[in-house]
């Protein structure tokens, strides 16, 4: 745990001294504010459903930009040699990268809490779907960040890492689209792989353990594969 703390501190320092984090945060919060104002004036309904779906789409597009540098940059700058020849298990290196990026994504999401506060101040929102929505976002951040770190571990070029992560996210998003064309039981596999299929119920207040399991299992699998990849010597 001591090594994880040392590595995490270094990663957070690297992330929060990089212009990428601030650029992504600005884009994220700008688009989110615009969407919130627009939907609130258009629907006059005190909920955050639109915001959660907007955050889902923005996460698909922007998380790859945040995670792309994780391990790809270490490889390109060859600093990975310093890490891998120090007495540190690969799993701590991957976990530190993952946690630092997760902190950043959750910090971005926390910017949207101001909208919940506005709804509470001027209306009487149903809090169940709002808490469910934030749970869904936390689970989404866990999975997307883990996959982002995995694709970053596979590539030396950051753009390739980002493109790879975006590709995986989009494939997961639309995984259920191919279900009608697949024989049983592959159709069920495709349906159950769908990212939006597990996000939407939670984001609208229907919290199921199976949805949590989806995010947790896929996220852990991605981190496991990233650790294996980093450990290839």
């Amino acid at each position: 745990m001591r090594l994880l703390a040392i590595l995490l501190r270094k990663e957070l320092h690297a992330i929060f001294t990089s212009p990428i984090a601030y650029t992504v945060a600005a884009v994220f919060l700008l688009v989110l504010g615009y969407t919130f104002a627009l939907t609130l004036f258009a629907t006059k309904v005190a909920n955050l459903n639109y915001i959660f779906h907007q955050m889902y789409v923005l996460s698909i597009l922007l998380v790859p930009v945040l995670t792309m540098r994780s391990l790809a940059e270490e490889r390109r700058n060859e600093t990975v040699e310093l890490l891998l020849t120090a007495p540190v298990a690969e799993v701590w290196i991957v976990f530190a990268k993952f946690l630092a990026n997760l902190v950043l994504v959750l910090a971005l999401y926390s910017g949207s809490l101001v909208y919940a506060a506005i709804l509470a101040r001027y209306g009487t929102p149903d809090w169940g779907p709002i808490w469910g929505g934030y749970l869904a976002l936390a689970a989404l951040a866990f999975l997307l960040t883990a996959i982002g770190v995995l694709t970053s571990s596979l590539a030396e070029n950051q753009v390739v890492a980002a493109a790879g992560a975006l590709g995986v996210f989009l494939m997961l998003w639309f995984a259920d689209s191919v279900a009608p064309y697949l024989p049983a039981p592959l159709d069920l596999v495709a349906i159950n792989l769908s990212l939006i299929g597990h996000f939407r119920p939670m984001a609208t207040g229907s919290v199921f353990l199976s949805d949590f399991g989806y995010f947790l299992v896929l996220g852990m699998a991605a981190l496991f594969l990233a650790t294996r990849r980093l450990g290839e010597r």
Binding site: T17, S18, T79, E81, L82, P87, R233
Partner: protein, 233 residues
């Protein structure tokens, strides 16, 4: 403790069909400076990376102070300080921060970190730049910081891969003095393709070509290194 500091036993490393190091046997005594000499692509860097634990041998084994670099990797990595050829450094850090990070990563804790930094900063004359950002350093200082991170935990063994690359004549002289100062207290393996440089600092010279070890000789007992080198290659 008895036995060699480093022992390579019939070590082979393949990258796909390419054999980078071919059935190499080598022993390095404690406190010795061994120069690895050979043209680019002769396998020097691969051998050093295997000793450092960055790469695993495809066949054979390497022991560091009697510990296997694969089976007992954490123990061997604690005993080694390694400066890769490109001298990778974290660009978002200042020199002191970087050295503190590397020291903590190698198990130095609390007030000992500052003491270790002061020690290496003193011996490598880094006082002038210790609080400067790493991107602001000259090539010579970057090289010294690279060596400082390898020495910060006072390792038994120091591995230097092409340490004179890119340095001007004055910096090469300073580097030579630094390496000579390590003799006795540390076992040093350094690689180079410049025969005269290796001859000036090493106790023994090992010549590699196409992954094979062609010969090892004491510098003191080989008055004409150049003739010996030419006779082998």
């Amino acid at each position: 403790m008895t036995g060699p500091a480093i022992a390579a036993n019939a070590v082979t490393r393949r990258f796909g069909p390419t054999i980078a190091v071919d059935r190499l046997d080598l022993q390095v005594a404690r406190g010795e400076i061994l120069g690895l000499l050979g043209p680019n692509g002769s396998g020097k860097t691969t051998l050093i990376r295997m000793i450092a634990g960055f790469l695993n041998p495809t066949e054979g084994s390497i022991t560091v102070a009697g510990h296997d670099t694969v089976d007992d990797a954490m123990t061997t990595r604690r005993r080694i300080g390694y400066v890769p050829e490109s001298v990778p450094l974290y660009r978002h850090m200042r020199v002191r921060e970087f050295l503190a990070f590397m020291a903590r990563l190698r198990g130095i804790e609390g007030g000992e970190v500052d003491a270790a930094i002061d020690r290496v900063a003193g011996s490598l004359a880094l006082g002038e730049v210790i609080d400067k950002p790493i991107p602001a350093l000259s090539r010579g200082y970057r090289q010294r910081v690279g060596i400082a991170q390898a020495l910060v935990h006072d390792p038994e063994i120091v591995l230097l891969d092409e340490p004179a690359n890119g340095l001007d004549p004055r910096q090469i002289i300073e580097l030579r003095r630094t390496i000579q100062a390590l003799a006795g207290r540390h076992t040093v393996v350094l690689s180079s393709h410049i025969l005269s440089e290796v001859g000036r600092v090493a106790d023994r010279v090992a010549i590699m070509l196409r992954g094979r070890l062609l010969g090892v000789r004491s510098v003191a007992e080989t008055p004409d290194l150049e003739a010996w080198f030419l006779s082998l290659t």
